[in-house]
């Protein structure tokens, strides 16, 4: 009897052990580090993502389906019709076709500048700060100098200086990137200063990690939300900056962007003629894309500063309480 009980107890212990082993070997789903950094899905984020994805798809796929935007027809300035969804320009070119190509051009500029500016700011903001001492002083001096350089006037001067024949997409992108990385570098420097003095960085140095690994594996992941936010911001700034330049006629030559569209609309007296279909669509796309990126940026801000998330949760809770109170009053 006792023997039997003992054996059942042992069996039970064995089975729990096996269960534990099974759980162990089944490997619990690995909680990915990146997943932790993703923003919570709020209505704002959804709206922002829909805008960005929609406009990006339009820019990427649109040009494949529309007619040639440069074809000149002798129909002149016409309003939207079934043949030309967004009407035609003064020279009879299809506005919708132009819009698709222009969106693609603006997105290209935004992406190139966003990547370049983020790389510059990471280089100057993180690397020098981690090394410290003289390197930090030098890198921070350089970014401070670039910070006080007035962006748009410099861009205008440089763009005006480069002959139009050599003024390609990349020239404009590099010029915009050079004038827009400094602010981000300063923010990164402050963050890196804080992270580099944390114990886990010291611990990885004690463990014998090499400097580049400490930066890339221990420090950089903790800066990802900041970098993402800065990338998004750089893209907005680049698209707006390029539109401004092109509107002034200083943009990339023989490329089509939303800014050049506005430039031609302005030159073609679209506004006095009341040809809204010519200048409203490109303006709207710039505004909506900027809005989408900003909405995404707000969500990224919540990861950088979790307090903001709490504010939202508190507000939600407060609203729920208020609703319940109101419902209670109605009952009575």
């Amino acid at each position: 009897m006792t023997n039997l009980r003992q054996s059942t107890v042992r069996e039970k212990a064995d089975s729990t052990k096996q269960m534990a082993l099974a759980i162990g070997s089944a490997k619990p789903p690995r909680r990915s580090a990146l997943r932790m950094m993703l923003p919570t899905l709020t209505p704002w984020l959804v709206v922002g993502l829909v805008l960005i994805v929609g406009i990006t798809l339009f820019g990427v796929l649109g040009p494949l389906f529309v007619m040639d935007p440069t074809t000149i027809r002798d129909i002149g300035l016409r309003g939207p019709s079934s043949e030309h969804i967004l009407g035609t320009t003064q020279t009879g070119q299809d506005v919708f076709a132009q819009l698709a190509y222009a969106t693609r051009g603006s997105l290209e500029i935004g992406l190139i500048v966003g990547v370049l500016a983020t790389i510059f700011s990471a280089l100057f903001g993180i690397l020098g700060t981690y090394i410290g001492g003289f390197a930090d002083e030098t890198f921070s001096l350089i970014s401070n100098v670039f910070l006080v350089i007035p962006g748009l006037p410099l861009v205008i001067v440089i763009s005006g200086f480069v002959p139009p024949a050599a003024r390609g997409l990349w020239t404009i992108a590099v010029v915009l990137a050079i004038t827009s990385w400094a602010g981000a570098a300063r923010v990164l420097r402050a963050q890196t200063l804080s992270i580099r003095s944390r114990d886990y960085v010291a611990a990885s140095r004690v463990a014998g990690e090499r400097a580049w690994r400490v930066i890339a594996v221990e420090i950089l992941p903790n800066l990802l939300p900041v970098l993402a936010s800065q990338f998004v911001f750089a893209v907005i700034a680049a698209i707006l900056g390029e539109a401004g330049l092109s509107f002034l006629g200083l943009g990339a030559s023989n490329s089509s962007t939303l800014g050049t569209m506005l430039f031609y609309a302005q030159n073609g007296f679209a506004l006095p003629l009341g040809a809204w279909w010519w200048f409203v669509p490109p303006g709207l796309i710039i505004a909506l894309f900027g809005m989408g990126l900003s909405l995404v940026n707000f969500s990224i801000d919540e990861i950088i500063n979790p307090k903001l998330k709490n504010v939202r949760l508190h507000r939600k809770r407060a609203r729920a309480v208020a609703r319940r109170l109101r419902a209670g009053k109605d009952d009575r």
């Binding site: 490997k27 690995r30 580090a33 010291a202 004690v206 463990a207 014998g208 221990e218």
Partner: protein, 297 residues
């Protein structure tokens, strides 16, 4: 096993006040030997230079003067590039010493692969589980996949200890390893450290401001005051028979359960303003020693 000989350690920090730069001596002429299987406790208040000594030994800071020599059993000096493999550190704050981005496995696997203790990812993974098992984190498979924020302070500190021991270190510097932990789990972590020390014959430098755990845990105590050693000796002697006024002051600062309800009278306590850190009582010789101030280099 590894031992460390510290001789005449001096560390100056330069303090900038406006445009005037001035030197501040954080550690002054400190010497001791860390031997396998033995624990030395560094005791002192905040700012007495304990953590600076820890950071210098862990090579996070460089000393202004003095020598630190790590030697093996046969008397051979540990070469510089192997130093980190032999000397490891456990940090004070377990909430700051683990990277929130990485899993527990990463923290223990990195020292293993840096020092090529294990070859191949499968061997490393199984050694990680072994280490987690040694520090009583059960089940290790589950803990390995977790991230620091899912662990309690005590569990994190166990991970930090596992990380320190992973490369097979012979010397462990424990910088107030339990001061940030809940009182109820301090003893558990200290006992774990003690067990691992016996198993691996480790040399431990235990840094604390708590005289009680210093006595419980260490063989020898060095009392630091303003960067200098003011009293040294076997732990029981230093605690039960303190000679230097500063040691008495430290002992009085700890609440005594037998005098419950009584305020420590300020008259009985030695006067802080007359504390002298130029003399040191050595319990080994039973004599007062002059701690000569070294001429700044």
């Amino acid at each position: 096993m590894t031992s460390i000989h510290v001789e005449n350690l001096v560390k100056d920090f330069s303090v900038r006040k406006g445009i005037v730069r001035r030197k501040f001596r954080a550690v002054d002429n400190v010497s001791f030997d860390l031997l396998p299987g033995r624990t030395i406790a560094l005791v002192g208040e905040s700012g007495s230079g304990k953590s600076t000594i820890a950071r210098i030994l862990a090579r996070l800071d460089s000393p202004t003067s003095g020598t630190i020599a790590a030697t093996l059993d046969d008397g051979a000096t540990v070469p510089n590039r192997l130093y980190r493999r032999h000397v490891q550190m456990v940090f004070q704050d377990p909430f700051a010493s683990l990277n929130p981005f990485h899993s527990i496995e990463h923290h223990i696997a990195r020292p293993l692969s840096i020092h090529r203790v294990t070859k191949g990812s499968a061997a490393t993974a199984s050694r990680v589980l072994e280490m987690l098992d040694r520090v009583n984190l059960e089940p290790p498979e589950e803990f390995a996949q977790r991230r620091p924020h899912e662990l309690s302070g005590g569990q994190r500190q166990r991970v930090a200890i596992a990380r320190a021991l992973a490369p097979g270190a012979g010397v462990v510097i424990a910088d107030e390893p339990v001061s940030m932990l809940d009182v109820s789990i301090r003893l558990g972590v200290l006992n774990l450290l003690g067990r691992l020390q016996r198993e691996d014959n480790l040399a431990v430098l235990y840094i604390t401001h708590d005289l009680a755990t210093a006595r419980h845990f260490s063989d020898e105590i060095l009392v630091l005051y303003k960067g200098r050693v003011v009293e040294r000796g076997p732990s029981d002697d230093v605690i039960l028979d303190p000679h230097h006024d500063y040691t008495r002051l430290l002992a009085l600062a700890a609440p005594d359960p037998e005098k419950l309800g009584k305020v420590v009278s300020s008259e009985a306590a030695p006067d802080r303003s007359t504390l002298d850190n130029t003399v040191c009582f050595n319990h080994f010789t039973g004599e007062w020693e002059e701690s000569e101030a070294r001429v700044p280099a």
